[in-house]
């Protein structure tokens, strides 16, 4: 059993990573909050050995995955199990080593390279939660045009970020 002080350090260090992982598995914000809390409670209940942050992050991810799948089983959603496997693969690809920090760093750099209008659309959509119709009105496009533009920007950002991560 790890000490309370140690648990506190672990929670502070890994809270965001676990929460992001649960979001990626498909949880909405409040569910990810609940399941992340369950994950850390499980940590406190076991005879876990905190050897190094990477191993701890991997342990927490496994536990979070288990808790998420239990949550899914209760709702009889079998498809999510297959998606969870794929999510793990994507997680390993993008965030396996650092909980997603490197990805986000690369994303910031890629966002800085976008043309002004694309940056503006991204800020409306993801910064202000502005709907597609309203964005269309603000930048003078049809709603379907905004949808296509967002898809193109996301594809460009993904290509840029993945290129940086491979380096």
């Amino acid at each position: 059993m790890i000490t309370e002080a140690r648990t506190d350090i672990i929670v502070r260090r890994h809270r965001l990573g676990v929460w992001r992982y649960l979001r990626l598995l498909g949880c909405d914000g409040p569910t990810a909050d609940d399941l992340a809390q369950e994950t850390f409670l499980a940590l406190m209940r076991t005879s876990f050995e905190d050897r190094d942050p990477r191993a701890t992050a991997a342990w927490l991810r496994r536990k979070a995955r288990f808790i998420f799948l239990e949550h899914i089983r209760k709702n009889r959603r079998r498809r999510e199990t297959r998606l969870a496997d794929m999510t793990d693969a994507v997680w390993d690809e993008y965030a396996g080593d650092d909980g997603g920090e490197g990805y986000r760093h690369a994303l910031r750099e890629c966002l800085a390279l976008l043309p002004p209008r694309s940056r503006q659309v991204i800020e409306f959509r993801y910064g202000g939660g502005v709907g597609r119709d309203e964005i269309a009105e603000r930048i003078g496009l049809k709603p379907n045009g905004v949808k296509t533009l967002l898809q193109r920007i996301r594809a460009k950002l993904r290509q840029c970020v993945e290129g940086k991560l491979r380096r």
Binding site: L24, L107, E123
Partner: protein
């Protein structure tokens, strides 16, 4: 891989991006990000890096035999019974070795690791976070059924059936009706060990036993009345005659004392008498000696109640001219089976592997009973020397140039050095 899988994977990648976008854009407006100085890598540097990457990949993929290193960071597969039925809930463990940097000193970059997973309802498993170009063995255990196979990226593993043991207890009075027998094998295990109750004549059968020798523990309630070794000959487990159990003589555990009773066995399952053992228990270490029958008594932390889980880290010990190696193991209910592995001095000759002149090497050695071990060293005038565990195992030789060679071995214990083991590698 179906197109539906591809679409789902793309959706997950998009979702990852969108979650990251929400966080990043809320943290700092995009317009601010645009104003920051973004370091650009010169085009020549990108081309040079790409060239080096291609070179490294080519070197890592090249092998001098049919052994394929694991690529892609994962191992998947299905576990089946001999009749072809999937086995859900089986424990799948991979023990691997890898060289992290093809052009660095192997002593600093070669590593061994272990990963584990459980099969799902369809008997399928997924082992993740496998380092690139790793090699190793996969072990599967389920209710005593066992398999040990070289690791591949996609596997179909068929389990060998579990072992069983028949025996008889001899007890006086009504003691027999209160007794229970339990088989304990070496090392760690998830879940309880197999147990059985004897019939009125004292006969019992235990099924679902893991491979290898072990210990038969005869219990009365939470008290251990007697512990005797179980040997394995040609895959069949045997007891040396009937087990006599007498009322009133308790060998442990005593619920009031924080002591553990153990039995020290060598790799053949024979008790090791008068052997000094070094161990670490939580934050202190000590040395103890086994008695003439291989039995041990050692005292743990007095604050740990009897029956709780205790981890012992055994140090290397020596007896006569041989070295032994133990492992971290869990001791539950205060009765331990401590299996030790004798080490044998090995001298080898290596000139070239796959056209590469060898000056240093990493040797991953995987056995059925101990964690993977990685040995590194230098080759002088084509010769090298190392210590290696006895018994059946698989050696993977990894070279700085990324060549890999696998050799199946069964090393008998001896104080004579083993010669010319890697002659096969000379080209």
């Amino acid at each position: 891989m179906s197109s539906s899988d591809d679409q789902d994977r793309e959706r997950i990648r998009d979702r990852f991006l969108e979650i990251a976008l929400e966080e990043v854009v809320k943290d700092a407006p995009v317009q601010e990000l645009a104003a920051r100085d973004v370091r650009r890598v010169p085009r020549w540097a990108i081309l040079a890096a790409a060239g080096l990457l291609v070179l490294a990949v080519v070197v890592l993929w090249e092998t001098d035999d049919e052994l394929t290193p694991l690529m892609g960071g994962r191992v998947t597969g299905v576990v089946l019974t001999r009749t072809g039925d999937p086995v859900p809930g089986a424990e799948v463990r991979i023990e691997i070795g890898y060289v992290e940097h093809a052009f660095s000193d192997l002593r600093h970059w070669a590593s061994a690791a272990r990963r584990s997973a459980e099969t799902d309802g369809d008997g399928r498993f997924l082992l993740e976070s496998i380092p690139e170009a790793a090699v190793g063995m996969v072990f599967v255990e389920h209710e005593g059924a066992f398999a040990r196979v070289p690791a591949e990226i996609e596997m179909e593993i068929v389990l060998a059936p579990a072992g069983s043991l028949e025996g008889r207890l001899v007890a006086t009075g009504d003691l027999m009706s209160q007794l229970e027998v339990e088989f304990r094998g070496h090392g760690r295990r998830r879940g309880p060990w197999p147990t059985a109750r004897p019939d009125p004549d004292g006969c019992f059968e235990l099924h679902g036993l893991p491979p290898g020798p072990g210990l038969l523990v005869v219990r009365r309630g939470t008290w251990t009345q007697r512990s005797v070794p179980v040997v394995e000959v040609d895959g069949e487990k045997r007891l040396e005659g009937p087990v006599r159990v007498e009322d009133g003589i308790v060998v442990g555990p005593d619920p009031l004392a924080a002591a553990t009773w153990g039995l020290l066995l060598d790799e053949s399952g024979a008790p090791m008498s008068d052997t000094m053992l070094g161990f670490a228990l939580w934050n202190h270490g000590s040395r103890i000696a086994s008695n003439s029958e291989g039995g041990l008594t050692f005292f743990g932390s007095p604050i740990k109640p009897a029956g709780s889980r205790v981890l012992l880290r055994l140090a290397c010990i020596s007896k006569g001219p041989w070295s032994y190696s133990g492992e971290l193991l869990a001791v539950e209910d205060r009765t331990a089976v401590i299996g030790l592995t004798r080490m044998r001095h090995m001298r080898g000759e290596v000139r070239q592997i796959g056209g590469e002149s060898i000056r240093e090497y990493a040797l991953l050695y995987v056995t059925d009973r101990a964690p993977p071990r990685l040995y590194t060293g230098h080759v002088l005038d084509g010769r090298f020397t190392t210590w290696i565990p006895t018994g059946r195992g698989t050696a993977f030789v990894l070279t700085p140039g990324g060549h890999i060679h696998r050799v199946e071995m069964d090393i008998t214990p001896s104080d004579e050095p083993l010669d010319r083991l890697f002659e096969v590698l000379s080209r």
